[in-house]
């Protein structure tokens, strides 16, 4: 089995997983959620193998181009979902999160993303690549969970469900924010200093990381100090995730030409 086959198997498992979660969503029978959860774990294991194989094959961290980083982000999102589901028992977010994961994996599999194993350019030859990218994307995966639960909060009618979604959303930010701060900003600054001799150069990617961080700082201050909860918190969390998504994607594609990230 090679990396692309394993990746495909994981993809198929995620799709079946999403289907089971959808049956659970419509029938409200917990059996579907249980199978879905087992399939998510199975998919994650296969996906992990794919990432390990890719690392062995290329000899470097599996996030040096869009295909690899999308694959890793979807892996991290499944991991974040499994952790949150185990801890808070909210299989209801399963179908939505798996749809996002499938979208990410589909994007990674699309012909738009070159999948060739390329040798590592000099700028990326550093162990900070591992630390910086993996921790940042893991943080963003938890932001994705906060995003889903915030949307579900807004959509829910039942008060008890609303409260649960609000609480899980906050707890996801509580995991994602320190991870994003450490991986995106702190490790990013350390690596920038090592590679370029300056820890901060107001590059669009850096600025958008800062914007994402400011939005989640806003989320925490309004919530913890001013007691905002519910709708307003949910909206800020959604904006925060969109900012994170733009940092990850948009800067590369829409603001390209200002500064190419080596």
């Amino acid at each position: 089995m090679n990396e692309s086959t394993l990746f495909l198997v994981a993809f198929i498992l995620y799709i079946i997983c999403a289907l089971f979660y959808l049956t659970f969503l419509f029938s409200n029978k917990l059996g579907g959620a249980k199978i879905g959860s087992a399939l998510a774990i199975a998919g994650l294991v296969i996906h992990t193998l794919a990432l390990v194989l890719r690392t062995i094959e290329s000899g470097h961290a599996p996030f040096t181009n869009m295909y690899e980083s999308l694959s890793f982000l979807s892996w991290a999102s499944v991991l974040a979902f499994i952790i949150i589901d185990k801890k808070f028992k909210i299989p209801k977010i399963g179908p939505y999160l798996m749809l996002i994961v499938i979208a990410l994996v589909a994007l990674a599999s699309s012909p738009l993303m070159p999948k060739d194993v390329a040798p590592l350019v000099p700028a990326l030859q550093s162990y900070w690549l591992w630390l910086h990218v993996s921790v940042t994307l893991l943080g963003e995966a938890f932001f994705a969970v906060a995003f889903i639960t915030s949307i579900m909060y807004l959509a829910a009618k039942d008060v008890e469900k609303k409260e649960k979604m609000d609480s899980v959303s906050y707890r996801s930010v509580a995991v994602g924010f320190p991870l994003f701060t450490l991986g995106g900003l702190v490790f990013g600054m350390v690596w920038a200093y090592k590679a370029w001799g300056t820890y901060w150069s107001w590059d669009p990617k850096e600025v958008w990381s800062l914007i994402t961080w400011l939005v989640f700082a806003l989320y925490l201050h309004t919530r913890v100090v001013m007691g905002w909860k519910g709708k307003r918190s949910a909206i800020i969390a959604i904006i925060g995730f969109l900012a994170a998504l733009f940092t990850y994607f948009g800067v590369n594609y829409l603001l390209a030409g200002l500064h190419s990230y080596a």
Binding site: Y199, L214, L218, H221
Partner: protein, 451 residues
């Protein structure tokens, strides 16, 4: 005065500042930063003047952006200071007594009666709470025993540690902005340059580009030697991600190139009329050399182009400074008469055959060329960087404390009532309330079981 303090201590100000800073930062990524006036005029037309006056083209270094950051720093300082003293008081001189009614109004609470006497219940309670890693304080007042049990008290300082860390990072930014030195030093191989303001010199011994088997670049490596008073101190090979650090200065591999001023070329000259003649000539561009034939022909190479292309009016020019299509102009003369002039190409040895000079008897090949490379090294000294790292460590430590070191507080009032002991307990914890509630219940249950 009070109104001013209230304004700066309000979280409202912090929230407003966070929103404005985020919005301003977005704006700075929509308007390209630090470009020329012409570029802005082309792109934004009449708006460009306004943009420049509002410093939107240098947004992150503009007075108003820095003022916003300064205001945020002030807000953080005032907020932190006003909160610290009550927090220290709470930590070191806490109020042990509590109002039973207040405890019963809490969400996490319990009330029960034990048959054991007051002192026995107190001892049991202390044993139970200490086993669960709570730190205890007790006091007796009006025949009531008050207990204050807390764990992870330092968690309440999490946000303050984050904020102090952020202030240190901002201070580091100021120190960097005022005191950092950044110079690009372009070295030819073998060249020694003084590092400005450093009191030592640097020599580039060697520059090399390493390639992967597929032809893409693996590494650019500069071998640098530090010289003090003309004596070698240390030699290190630097590459991207692997700078040299010496006496507060760091040296980064930033760029490289070829020094095309006067490369040396090797040219093979032939005569079709005389197949036995093969002259290998090595010379520098701009120089000449005899062919050593009967006619005393002299060969010269006036021009070299690294990336040959024909521009407008068929004028030879270079497309880049990379050796993609190296070509040399060869001229041959007999006395004062120029008998040959033509371009020959390293990558296309047969091409010159198609061009006919005056004397078609001569044929040339560009066999090789030697060119010196230069390496651009950035010398940087940033006195603010250590503050940045200290600030980062504090921010992470503070986030850890704030999110994962929840302070839990259990307050208990014990009172004798009709030969029994009345236990009233309440739990206060802002973070991880579910886990705290479960632990509280477990502790109270184990206390009830004890007789």
């Amino acid at each position: 005065m009070k109104a001013i303090i209230r304004f700066f201590t309000s979280v409202r100000l912090a929230i407003v500042l966070l929103i404005i800073l985020a919005a301003a930062s977005v704006l700075g990524t929509l308007i390209p930063q630090g470009r020329s006036f012409e570029e802005y005029a082309l792109r934004f037309g009449r708006l460009s003047g306004l943009f420049i006056r509002l410093q939107l083209t240098q947004l992150y270094h503009s007075i108003w952006y820095l003022a916003l950051l300064g205001l945020l720093a002030l807000n953080i300082i005032v907020c932190t200071l006003t909160r610290l003293s009550p927090k220290f008081l709470k930590t070191f001189r806490p109020q042990v007594e509590s109002d039973p009614k207040g405890l019963l109004a809490l969400k996490i609470k319990d009330r029960f009666k034990q048959t054991a006497p007051l002192s026995a219940v107190k001892a049991e309670l202390e044993k139970t709470l200490e086993a669960a890693h709570y730190r205890l304080r007790a006091t007796i007042h009006d025949a009531k025993i008050y207990l204050l049990a807390r764990k992870r008290i330092w968690g309440i300082f999490g946000s303050d540690v984050v904020h102090v860390g952020l202030l240190i990072i901002l201070a580091g930014g100021i120190v960097s902005g005022l005191g950092s030195v950044r110079r690009q030093l372009a070295f030819n191989e073998g060249q020694t340059l003084a590092v400005p303001g450093a009191g030592f010199e640097l020599r580039l011994d060697k520059f090399a580009t390493e390639y992967y088997p597929d032809g893409s670049v693996r590494a650019w490596k500069s071998t640098l030697t530090v010289l003090e008073q003309k004596k070698s101190f240390l030699t290190k090979i630097i590459a991207v991600n692997h700078p040299l650090t010496y006496k507060g200065f760091s040296f980064y591999q930033t760029s490289y190139g070829w020094n095309w001023d006067s490369p040396a070329v090797e040219i093979w000259a032939r005569k079709k009329s005389d197949p036995s003649l093969l002259k290998k000539i090595k010379l520098k561009v701009g120089a000449g050399a005899p062919l050593d034939d009967k006619e005393q022909t002299v060969i010269s190479v006036p021009r070299f182009i690294p990336d040959f292309v024909l521009g407008e009016g068929n004028e030879p020019q270079t497309r880049s400074l990379q050796p993609n299509n190296p070509a040399v102009l060869v001229e041959a003369a007999r006395g004062t008469e120029k008998i040959y002039s033509g371009w020959i190409f390293a990558n296309y040895p047969d091409f010159a055959q198609m061009h006919r000079g005056k004397d078609t008897d001569l044929a040339f090949e560009l066999k090789s060329y030697e060119v010196g490379q230069y390496s651009v090294i950035e010398a940087a000294k940033d006195p603010g960087v250590n503050l940045i790292w200290i600030g980062c460590v504090l921010v992470m430590l503070g986030l850890g404390l704030a999110f994962y070191w929840p302070t839990w507080e259990i307050k208990v009032v014990l009172e004798e009532a009709q030969g029994k002991t009345d236990v009233i307990a309440g739990g206060i914890g802002q973070k991880s309330r579910d886990r705290f509630g479960a632990e509280f219940e477990k502790l109270m249950a184990s206390l009830r079981r004890s007789k």
